[in-house]
Amino acid sequence: MNLAARQPVLLVAVPLVFAATCPLWGMWKRRICFYWALGGMSVTAFLAWSLIGKVSQKAPLTYNVSGWRPPWGIQIRIDTVGLLLACTITAMSILLLLYSYRYVEKEIPTQRIVYYYTLLLLIFTAMLGCSVTGDLFNFFVFMEIFSITSYALVAISGERRAIRAALKYLLMGATSSLTVLLAISFLYSVTGSLNMVDIGQVLERMGRTSSPYLPVAAAAMIFFIAGFCVKAAVFPVHVWLPEAHSIAPSPVSALLSALVIKMGVLGIIRTLFTVYGRGFSSFSEVWGALATVLSWAAALSIPVAAIMAIMQTDLKVMIAYSSVVHVGYIVLGISVLSVQGFAGGLFNIVAHAMGKGCFFLVAGIIIYKHGFRRIDDLKGLGRSMPVTAGAFAIASLSIVGLPPSAGFIAKWNILYGCLQQSQYIQVVLALFGSMLSAVYCFKVVYYMFFTGSNVGAKMDEGPMTMLIPVTLLAAGTVFFGIFSALLMPTLSNAARVLLAR
């Protein structure tokens, strides 16, 4: 049997098998779950990473599940964007699982550890499913899986505020999911198809024949964007994010910030470009207006969220607000509609995943070792935990967008894209925002390294399983800052294809 050709579906099915069996192991011995999950994600990571080079935006890797050609069956369709996300997800998943090994002992009630690993596997599977699917309704189904699991993961520690945050997250998340479902039904009623590419073609045909149903499709687009914006925590509808991301156990916070909100961004990309991109001429006004609104919302969110982050005293809440800043960058890059900006936005998905992952994991180590959450308590931590604090300092370069880090490359491209489209005010807002980002990031670095007593501080680092992911992520931000050429050309090509019309 030719497994190589079936790799796309294995990418989803294999981790699902691991997820389904995980609780069974847990009934026997709890510890096995960790190794099982780690093994499962390693296999999946291999499956995802071996696809690198075989995929391009123009010639995506497709797989017809059950053998039905689209539009009749569900097609798995891995393009550059999907593969980028799949690789990021699988790589992050291994680091996060490794990190969880010691962390869960402390923050999660013992009998829930089995479910914690199961839910983690499920959420990774769901995100992989979202990244590679070519079917709109299938996207919705997987979106619901990761939504439900993330509500549960936020609340899994059972803390008072965690449950409240999860409930808040659920109310907004479920409403946004329904908005997306409503949009899907609108779109289905006028196109009769659920395959993204096929809908694109139908819309194009409808545009040519100036079908009377075009306004419905346009309205559906608005609902799509509204729904996905909540998932991605774009500025005015980000209110659920700070609490949910800060109260969750740290690996979960890292997961939510680094990956889950990117799925909302993926939804925006899929609808705006894959689905509606082809029939663009038919709704140029609505489409353009939406893009403009998005870019303004994103650009405004950068300084506003940065100011909110500055005002926080809790480390994790501050980091959570910083996620809103970066979603702003990503969405800005995507919505300015220039190739370079788009590529920068995509690059920032990776850069932010690494930087923010590192941030939350560092916060986790600090909580694990000392139980501190407040920024004021971090005094002198750089001396007792040099590796942890150093990783934070390096990652903060990327979050602020200073060279030579991946965040800088992303910011550079996004801003250049804005310039290309003569969006000067957005450039100014984004630059201003990055200055403010420096304030909240360096405040923490300052507390860690330049305050507190320096005498008698002895080394008191976290366990190895927690330090390795943190160090790797911090190193990754610098690596991709210097060797961004590994990614940028591919992303630029992808952006070119997506923006072509």
Binding site: L402, P403, P404, F408, I409, W412, N413, L415, Y416, L419, Q420, V427, V428, L431, F432, S434, M435, A438, V439, F442, F449, F450, T451, N454, I482, F483, S484, A485, M488, P489, S492
Partner: protein, 491 residues
């Protein structure tokens, strides 16, 4: 025009100081004294590595090295041309002086201090050797960040406040420079330094060029402390430990000026600048800075604060010289980089010795210091005289060339600025010398043990250099020969 060679030497030079981190990681805890010796040795080694490039630089040659392609069309690359070599050499010399001096001066937090000192050298060299604006920006930003730990080294409340101010200024400046680089790339299609301007009126409209120019000035002006942007300087210099202030004032401010040089010669080009007519406004700004900063210096009672204001004024000499847009003016401006580095280096190192030995910072308390620290105060006096432009010191050469440049540019009236400045310098430097030597009740005894040699020797060497540079101007190897090559290539 000399030949272009490819070599890996630039990155070796730039990254040699990183060995300090290795040394720190290995021996900082177990063998503190040895490792401190090694830090200095690494700095010296970096300096020695730069020297072989001398021949190439004197011929106007270029050493290139391509590192990595960051974004399509933008590379990380090094390129040592004459002006870069000139600046790099200066960096190395002053760093060796400061490094040796630090051995005696710094008493706590050695590891952090030396690591960031070395990183700073690396990043400054990166700025000097960068082949395009992008590389320059990256190292410039890193340099800005790496300076912060030096400024707050003493961790007093004052230092913290100064550090915060510094960070706010430099990060804002970084964002502004980023905007300028983006605009340059967007409108000019290239960021490489080619030895001539890459922007031209043929491709880009005048308002846009003017915008790019002013945004660049705004960005680099913060480090080069052009007057309304100088706010961080008078706080940061007094707060930092003396060797660090010597470097800050002697070199780090010049990194901003160096950025401006690149903008002038490799982004816009002299011809375009003349067409844009930005010379005169910048001259006014520079003159304003020179005079006002000198005036600000007079009422200062803190020694290092007074020196800091003096630096603000002196760095604008460079700007003045450059924007005269005449060959002699440029010579003066470029010479000022090295000359001021030695003058102000001497002054700050002397101030450090005074503070270290007597604990006094207030100028009113300087009475009789000359009898306690005769050699130090001799050096101080020489440098102070040089600041005023006394002949046979390097300060005179600069002023002379600037004056010639002003006449050459048909803007002779700027000589008045130089004269006023010399006068003001006398007003705020001579009282210190007077207090130190002539208000003393004790007689001067040279036999008295002064301070530890690790601090005294670098100070005296810098002091001697002030005179050497003033007398043996045209000796090959000294700044003048290199500056001439640069200026001949540009004009």
């Amino acid at each position: 025009m000399g030949k272009v060679t490819s070599s890996v030497l630039p990155s070796i030079i730039v990254f040699t100081p990183w060995l300090t981190l290795l040394v720190a990681a290995l021996w900082a805890r177990s063998r503190p004294r040895t490792s401190r010796g090694l830090y200095t040795a690494i700095t010296v080694a970096t300096g020695l590595l730069i020297l072989p490039m001398y021949g190439i630089a004197l011929d106007g040659g270029v050493v290139r090295q391509h590192l990595v392609r960051v974004v399509p069309g933008i590379d990380l690359a090094f390129r040592i041309d004459t002006v870069g070599f000139y600046f790099g050499l200066l960096l190395a010399v002053l760093w060796i002086a400061a490094g040796v001096y630090s051995l005696g001066y710094i008493h706590e937090r050695h590891t952090r201090y030396y690591c960031f000192l070395a990183l700073n050298l690396s990043f400054c060299l990166g700025v000097a050797f960068s082949a395009n604006m992008f590389t320059l920006f990256i190292f410039y930003e890193l340099m800005s960040l790496a300076t912060y730990p030096l400024i707050i080294h003493e961790e007093t409340a004052l230092a913290r406040r100064a550090g915060l101010k510094y960070l706010i200024y430099s990060i804002s400046a970084g964002a502004v420079i980023l905007a300028a680089v983006l605009m340059q790339y967007f409108y000019g299609d290239t960021l490489s330094f080619l030895g001539h301007g890459t922007l031209s009126l043929a491709k880009v409209s005048k308002p846009v060029l003017l915008t790019i120019f002013s945004v660049y000035m705004l960005g680099f002006g913060v480090k080069a402390c052009i007057m309304p942007l100088h706010g961080w300087v008078p706080d940061a210099h007094p707060a930092a430990p003396a060797p660090a202030s010597a470097l800050l004032s002697g070199v780090l401010l010049k990194v901003g000026a160096f950025g401006i040089i690149r903008v002038l010669y490799d982004v816009f080009g002299i011809k375009l600048l003349r067409e844009l007519g930005v010379g005169l406004p910048m001259l006014y700004v520079a003159s304003f800075t020179i005079i006002v900063a000198s005036l600000f210096a007079i009422p200062q009672t803190d020694l290092k604060r007074r020196l800091a204001y003096s630096s603000v004024a002196q760095v604008s000499y460079i700007i003045l010289g450059l924007f005269l847009l005449s060959p002699d003016g440029a010579v003066g401006g470029l010479l000022q980089i090295a000359h001021h580095a030695f003058m102000k280096g001497t002054l700050f190192l002397c101030a450090g010795i005074i503070i270290h030995e007597t604990g006094k910072r207030d100028i009113a308390d300087m009475e009789g210091v000359g009898s306690k620290l005769p050699l130090t105060m001799m050096a101080f006096s020489i440098a102070a005289l040089a600041m005023m432009g006394t002949p046979a010191t390097c300060g005179f050469i600069t002023k002379w060339e600037l004056g010639l440049g002003a006449i050459q540019a048909h803007r002779g009236y700027f000589i008045v600025v130089l004269l006023i400045s010399a006068l003001l310098n006398a007003v705020y430097y001579l009282p210190i010398v007077y207090l130190a030597f002539f208000k003393s009740k004790e007689t001067i005894k040279f036999s008295k043990r002064e301070t530890r040699p690790s601090m005294l020797i670098p100070t005296l060497v810098c002091g001697v250099m002030v005179i050497v540079l003033g007398i043996f101007v045209t000796v090959p190897g000294l700044p003048y020969s290199l500056v001439k090559v640069v200026v001949n290539a540009v004009f």
